[in-house]
Assembly symmetry: C2
Homo-oligomer: 123 residues x 2
DNA sequence: CGTTGACCTGGAGTGCACTCCAGGTGGGAT
DNA sequence: ATCCCACCTGGAGTGCACTCCAGGTCAACG
């Protein structure tokens, strides 16, 4: 018997990744997701790799990376292993952005706490 | 002599708050900022109170509160002191959102760190 | 007294990231 | 057999939060 590589239907990927089907199609259309394989009927069948990559995309998206930059990262990944240092640089830069976001939020949160305390002093 | 209340020109408020002049006008137009006072020539003169409120707006905006919700908060503030408990509720709910954001970012950041470490193992 | 520059208004335009739609196909359960 | 449902495509539409523009006013500086 032939080794059956595990594949995922669109519905399964929606379930797994939390992206809507429209978003998955959109990501494929703009090249954030490489052309996904199809079955005989032309329906998408996502590979394990596709799903893994979508996990990365979710992480970057949820940390506020713009699509344009994710596209650059996707291109580096496609270009092969020699781009690994560039990928590290990109991720480290992004990591600094995320760090800043966290610190900013924490500071704003202190302001909110003060405001709440101030309001509480009125009742 | 009459007590001269301190007022701010548009340029000063832009400087102080980091909002663009267009954004300030936009906020006034949609009612996030109450009708700002004018001088004889019809130019805006922001009060101390306006600037203080813009500080709050900046905090809420930078922590991701949608404008629609900021508008609700603004209405509570305008409605008078009896809405203070409601304002506290709103801010506490928002505080929980901010907390979630921070925790989410921290978790995603761990993923990024792992990815960087993984890439580093290749060179 | 002239020019520059900050400001005004109403309204149109922008960028991002989706999201929806019309019209159509194919396959599995009843 | 037939019905439904998941899926397909290309393209249009949406929502948010601004941002820009045209055409105009006013005041201070040199």
């Amino acid at each position: 018997m032939l080794g059956r590589v595990s594949v995922y239907t669109p519905a399964e990927v929606v379930e797994e990744t939390g992206f809507s089907l429209d978003t998955l199609r959109y990501y494929e259309k703009i090249g954030l997701l490489e052309r996904v394989g199809r079955n005989a009927a032309g329906q998408r069948r996502f590979s394990e790799e596709d799903v893994g990559w979508l996990g990365m995309v979710r992480c970057l998206r949820d940390t506020g990376m713009p699509i344009a930059q994710m596209l650059r990262f996707a291109e580096l990944v496609r270009a092969g292993d020699h781009t690994i240092p560039d990928r590290v640089k990109l991720l480290e830069e992004h990591d600094r952005q995320v760090q800043k976001q966290i610190e900013n939020l924490a500071e704003r949160q202190r302001y909110i706490h003060h405001k709440i305390a101030y309001y509480r002093s009125f009742c």
